[in-house]
Amino acid sequence: MKLLIARVSGTLVIAALLPSGALAQPTRTAQLEGQRAERARSAPPAPKTFLDKIVLLVEDKWPQPKALAPEGTFYPRVGTVTVESGLAFGGGYRRSFANDTLRADAYGQLATRGYGVGRASLSLPRLAAHTLELQGVARYRRFPQEDYYGLGPLAQRSHRTNYLIEETDVSMQLAWRPRPWLLIASQIAWLQPRVAGGTDGDVASIETRFTEATAPGLTIPTTFFEQGALALVDYRDSPSHSHSGGRYAVYVSHYDDRHDRGFDFARVTAHVEQYVPVFDAKRVVAFRFAVNHAGAANGSRVPFYYTPTFGGGDSMRSLDDLRFRDASSWILTLEYRWEAITGVDLAVYHDRGGMAPRFESLSLADADDCVGLAVRLTTGRVIFARAEVSFLGREGVRGLIGFSAPLKLERFLR
């Protein structure tokens, strides 16, 4: 009996020393409350993996969007300057005034292969109830390794050279968008191009193989005054990854040689693009037809660096970029795309096109052809990467990797 009393008294001593309620009849509620109290006392559970840490960092530290955008913002620019320019890095600064009635924007970008571009603009983007925009632009670009094979469809691949073009232009544009799908614009621009030998040591420089006769404008610098007008109808469902709708553009411009050195010319571009969904928009037939023509007045010539080009990822895909140049060119594309899985499209395509020294010499029969296969990565609304292989072209099999949608339309407004 005494032993029992001793055991009980020992237990009671412990009961007295422990937190109150520790030996009370337990309940589920008390158990859960205890777990939560312990959780409140202890440090929060640490992320287990590096990726978890990154996610937590993004969630916890990323600034919440501010109520209003700051009037002035620095921003980075990473990408490319033009085709085969190499990766380009740069940055810019934009600032808005008077509740975004007036905008200023300036940026610069340098690419690994020495390409560079700088642009500054001042715009009134919201005139006439947001339908009218007036913009002034000053731009500089330096492309030091542009390919040139000579003019005409017979330019030899072995005649490949490279040249440098620097261009400074100042332009004024007025763009009217009365409907979301309709744009009518005009622009005037003052352009000062400069051409010199290319910097790509692996390819001959242009002056070693071509002369003023075979590369008009190579040795005669001049300045241009451009007047252009654009009409654009664009009702594609998603501009960077279209499944339905179309885009039709006509751009007409005249280049006036301000030094009267024989380079007055006019340029016309017509572009028709149509997308037809098959069954449920996971299958699309895409059609594109484009004609480019640059015609000089009597006694004048078109500088080689402004002549229409033929070949490349947005033209005849079996040919290298800038492979051919001539006064006139056309390209027809028929493409069938289908979605294999979300985020991946496959495509087969047929490109057909040609070029000629005169517009009336263009022939649908005498043309280059190629067929190809493509894999494209998409976000649903945007094609952000593509790999394409073209076959049966006159220069054999050619593959390309790009980071934008195919069938890109030339940018007319500067």
């Binding site: 055991r7 009961a15 559970p45 955008a69 996971k282 899985i341």
Partner: protein, 550 residues
């Protein structure tokens, strides 16, 4: 043995008892089991808002997979039910017939005040125009319009889906359909707008005109919109479907093991909720007496049923995850001419309904495009729990919910009512039969155990087959059992306990197995536990065995 040594033994016994209790090695059933409310009494004042965007959503979805195993849901009570909590609330009619008033926000607010709305912010570039505005009483709402191409589609889907998720037990922001004139909207001082260049600046009347130009307008000049009441409290950003929230001490159950988040998959299948990203959720810090509590909301109901928000739901919606090998290869190799079966269902041709159908709906095949760790852990017992709640939404409740969407086209209302009911029944046929569908078991003093076969009661299974039962006496303190008598068979879920068992035991346990020629899931055992009380035998425990359980 001397007294000192005995005292020491007593001390050790006390410590061991306390440690055992602290470690949770208590009895299987506590006196307050089954709990109806999960006690979340810690102050969550330290909870901080966190950033969310589409990119962070994808990152979190890819990286936060939760634990790999799939145990029984951790937050259920001993009757395998979900207690009320900051996540879930058992509404009236959770497992029986849903009263109609529950689907029209019953006891909640009466809706926006009549009068002028003061705009606090807007998004003129959003494909689906939306505003944040204050009504005449000062209550803040998000006002969402339909796109011009699909009048009534998104607002109808949101009106219906939010009400149904509310009925099913989730916290959802209250919404109300409203009809507005342009003159009913006044731009508040300093109201920002996000414009076409993704810039936030002060809103102008032109911005409002642009925004409204993208909204469907009725012939009488008014805009139909849905006003979603902003939950009271501080917006903390979305919750995740895995892990716990580090700054909420009440959040102790990993989300992937919460019953209501696993079972959400069933509700999403019913309502074709294909946008189950964290972005469609919201944590809100609320005042609850003298402490703060994180309440967890489901939001973003405009991409449900046949709505893809701006357009009709894509054929993929709800029928396939992003990667499924065989269909992908077939599609790739046949130039896309291989048509997946789920593409075949056609649009019913009702613009305000979109693409929502029941003829091809296969509940078990339904997949959200975004993988959720909670959905990946779902078990048959979770699905049974959810399916039972879906089946509780009877035709009258569905009619009331669809009527709340105020469709102009009576055909739209009829079609949706029929389709919701048909999909509900399809869910019942599948997920009420993957386990033994007995519930509501009662042990009478006369030693008669009566259970309800939910599948038979809901008319989604024939009452064919039989039931086998084995009785046990149960020792709650040691969680051990002793077989009493042999196995008996019954054609109906009514059983009689062996003589003497009820007189000699404080706890009684029965293990029941079913047998049905069409439903193999009935063979998985169900254990029910009863405790002797002054009023008779009280049901305190229920465990459903699922395939793969030991």
């Amino acid at each position: 043995m001397n007294r000192g040594r005995s005292f020491l033994i007593g001390v050790c016994a006390g410590v061991i008892a306390w440690m055992a209790e602290a470690a949770g090695d208590g009895p299987r059933f506590f006196p307050d089991d089954p709990i109806a409310v999960d006690p979340e009494r810690q102050d969550a004042a330290g909870a901080k808002p966190r950033y969310s965007s589409g990119a962070s959503d994808i990152l979190a979805t890819l990286t936060r997979r939760g634990t790999r195993h799939s145990p029984h849901a951790l937050n259920v009570n001993t009757l395998d039910e979900v207690p009320d909590s900051s996540w879930y609330s058992n509404r009236p009619g959770a497992t029986a017939v849903v009263p109609i008033e529950a689907v029209v926000w019953g006891r909640l607010h009466s809706g926006p005040a009549y009068g002028v709305w003061t705009i606090l912010s807007g998004e003129s570039d959003s494909a689906r125009p939306r505003l944040t505005a204050r009504d005449a009483n000062g209550t803040i709402y998000t006002i969402k319009f339909d796109s011009t191409s699909h009048p009534e589609l998104a607002t109808g889907a949101e009106a219906i889906s939010a009400r149904l998720f509310h009925v099913l037990g989730y916290h959802t922001p209250e919404n109300h359909l409203i009809w507005l004139h342009r003159n009913d909207l006044v731009i508040g001082r300093g109201a920002p707008v996000r414009d076409g260049d993704d810039r936030r600046r002060l809103m102008t009347p032109t911005d409002l005109d642009i925004l409204l130009s993208k909204a469907a307008r009725r012939r009488d000049g008014r805009y139909r919109a849905i006003a979603v009441r902003r939950p009271d409290g501080v917006d903390l950003g979305p919750f995740r479907f895995a892990g716990v929230r580090a700054d909420d001490p009440n959040d102790i159950f990993p989300h992937e093991h919460r019953r209501e988040l696993r079972g959400l998959r069933v509700f999403c299948a019913w309502l074709n909720h294909d946008d189950t990203r964290p972005m469609a959720t919201q944590d809100v810090l609320i005042e609850d007496g003298n402490r703060r509590l994180v309440r967890h909301y489901l939001t973003g109901f405009d991409s449900m049923l046949g709505s893809g928000s701006v357009f009709t739901a894509r054929p993929r919606a709800g029928d396939e995850t992003a990667w499924v090998t065989r269909p992908v290869l077939l599609t790739a190799l046949t130039l896309g001419f291989y048509v997946r079966p789920w593409i075949r269902p056609t649009d019913p041709g009702l613009p305000s309904v979109g693409r929502y159908e029941a003829a091809f709906f296969a509940p078990a095949m339904w997949q959200p495009p975004y993988r959720s760790p909670a959905f990946d852990r779902v078990r048959p017992d979770d699905e049974f729990w959810a399916a039972r709640r879906v089946m509780a939404v009877n035709d009258a409740a569905i009619h009331a919910v669809v009527a709340a969407a105020r469709y102009t086209d009576p055909l739209a209302e009829t079609y949706l009512r029929d389709t919701l009911a048909a999909r509900r029944d399809a869910i019942g046929r599948v997920w009420l039969n993957t386990v033994l569908p007995l519930a509501d078991c009662r042990l009478a003093p006369t030693a008669t155990l009566t259970c309800t076969n939910i599948a038979v009661e809901m008319d989604v299974a024939e009452s064919a087959g039989d039931y086998r039962i084995q009785w046990y006496s149960f020792d709650n303190a040691t969680d051990s059992r002793a077989k009493v008598g042999g196995e008996s068979v019954s054609l109906v879920p009514v059983f009689t306990a062996p003589r003497g068992l009820m007189e000699s035991s404080e706890f009684v346990m029965a293990e029941i197995r079913g047998r049905h020629p069409d439903h193999r899931g009935w063979a998985h055992p169900l254990r029910v536990y009863f405790r002797r009380t002054a009023d008779g035998w009280r049901s305190v425990g229920l465990t459903r065995w699922s395939p793969g359980d030991n």
